[in-house]
């Protein structure tokens, strides 16, 4: 199915949540409202003509200037060999999104990483805890206003330069 068809199928079911404009390209970009991401993804996966059986990537982008966090879902269909990218935004102060880990198992880890590094909370995620950083780490490192701590468990994070200028 071509990008136009995918977008039309989404607008039919979710007219309120899906933007009327979409961006063409190798990965057609469809903008979706943050509250209905899980339902849109369920339609994309289960509808036979759409058949997006693989979540290729889930990335969060910290848009500090707009005070939003943007989350991108790159969906791929091995059956029909088409692909689409969903873009959604959520407020930066308390970012919340519905989980899609019940649709694609890989979303479990991708959402945990998004939580760990950006602080986006995924509602109904079975196990939302830190993935890459240590359990007792404070802060979300990929945020633009993240400040590195001076020490961690007694190990200093500063190193004096050997160059005496």
């Amino acid at each position: 199915m071509d990008a136009d068809g995918i977008h039309r199928a989404l607008r039919e079911k979710f007219a309120g949540a899906v933007d009327p404009d979409w961006v063409a390209g190798e990965w057609p970009i469809v903008t979706v409202g943050s509250a209905s991401v899980a339902e849109v993804c369920r339609l994309l996966r289960d509808e036979p003509a759409l058949g997006f059986d693989c979540l290729s990537n889930l990335s969060g982008v910290d848009r500090k200037d707009d005070d939003r966090i943007e989350v991108w879902y790159h969906l791929l269909s091995y059956r029909h060999r088409h692909q689409v990218a969903l873009r959604t935004t959520t407020p930066r102060l308390d970012p919340v999104l519905p989980t899609v880990s019940h649709l694609w198992p890989i979303a479990n880890w991708l959402e945990r990483e998004c939580w760990d590094l950006l602080g986006v909370r995924f509602v109904d995620h079975p196990d939302l805890r830190r993935l890459l950083m240590p359990e007792d780490w404070v802060g979300h490192p990929l945020r633009k206003d993240f400040v590195e701590p001076d020490e961690y468990h007694g190990i200093s994070t500063r190193r004096e330069s050997l160059l005496k200028l």
Binding site: P134, F146, E148, Y152, H153, I155, T157, R158, R159
Partner: protein, 166 residues
Amino acid sequence: MSLINTVPETVVTTKVDDLLNWSRKSSVWYMLFGLACCGIEMMQTGGPRSDLDRFGAVPRATPRVSDLIIVSGTLTLKMALRTKLLYEQMPEPRYSISMGSCANCGGLFQLAYSVCDGVDKVIPIDVYVPGCPPRPEALTEGLLKLQAKIQQERWLVRKPDGAAAA
């Protein structure tokens, strides 16, 4: 040329410390502690072309039977605590080589928030091998420098305060 039946009964005289150190330095067993890219180069150094085994250095899996820990690769803060634990499990006398820029000083990951800038923040280091990653020849030279260091240690005759090393 064979020495059999050509020379009379021979006696070799040396210092006990020299003999001990020579046997110890010729059998430095290192722990497989490959963390990152330098770990691959450490494997290649132990490989057929530049063979570490000819110096007596054999890779061992556990710290309890190794003399040497070659910290090869980037040390993250999460891993640093475990590194200290592993080093403390090694029985003395134990040595450590810091291999590669990341282990020496953080390397190109000094800009990172999760990297410990140098393994000497958690364990004492005997030899630093620079490089990113160091060539097998460089790591071999590091091992030879460590052997030179071992050769100079003193066990039988020590300083008055009990220190063993010269």
